[in-house]
Amino acid sequence: MKRSVAPVFWLLFGAGGMLSAFTGPALVLITGLAVPTGIGVSPSFMSFARATAFAQDPLGKLVLFGVIALFLWHGAERIYLTLRDMRAGGRLALMCICYGSASALTFVTVGTLMIIGF
């Protein structure tokens, strides 16, 4: 019997969906609205020195990798399934575009975290 690769993508979709349901609203509020406007947050909250220290810490690295990669895989699965239902293109082409970008950006995330170092 031919095995399907769909469960792998479903697992990543589910993990990203759960993580974003628990952390997404608070993270967007903090990094995208509170920090830029300075409302309720110190101006140096995400300064270069502090952000570097966070990205160099193993736990900080795990948080950044988990949030960026799983959010991307969650979005990629939803976009793929919706475009497929809309018949926006061939199944294989849509898979290559959606899963391909998510994989490539996951590698970019890992590479960037490695460049930032420990």
Binding site: L27, T31, L33, V41, M46, F71
Partner: protein
């Protein structure tokens, strides 16, 4: 001979833009916001690796009205994602039987939403604790 040819009911080309499918389309569109927010963070991370000047440029981008509007949209979509995610959850998981009775679906939804709200408060408290 070719294989079975299932009957495909004719559908409007933009069926996804009309009720009742519009709700489904909007729910799936929250995935674009989730991935979009990840892209903003990844851009910040790449700029962080490139040096202080590049990173400060990213911080300045976050201050632009475009970015603030984008993040407001992300926030609305994220809240929509949280709401719909826990509506779907009891439908995608095995039935929970407690003491010989099936746990009602809306209880699971309510529990999920309660945990999500608790997580929201906890993350804000952690951020407060991380303040310089």
């Amino acid at each position: 001979m070719t294989g079975p040819r299932p009957y495909l009911r004719p559908a409007k080309t933009a069926w996804w833009a009309h009720p009742p499918y519009l709700a489904y389309t909007l729910r799936e569109a929250t995935g674009v916001a989730v991935a979009g927010y990840a892209l903003v963070l990844l851009a910040g991370l790449i700029n962080l690796a490139s040096g202080e000047e590049a990173y400060d440029a990213w911080l300045n981008f976050l201050k632009s009205p475009w970015s603030l509007a984008l993040h407001l949209l992300f926030l609305i979509a994220m809240i929509g994602h949280v709401w719909t995610w826990f509506q779907i959850m009891p439908k995608t998981m095995p039935r929970l039987v407690i003491g010989g009775r099936v746990l009602p679906q809306n209880w699971i939804t309510a529990a999920g939403l309660a945990v999500a709200m608790a997580a929201f408060v906890i993350i804000l408290l952690v951020a407060e604790w991380m303040q310089p």
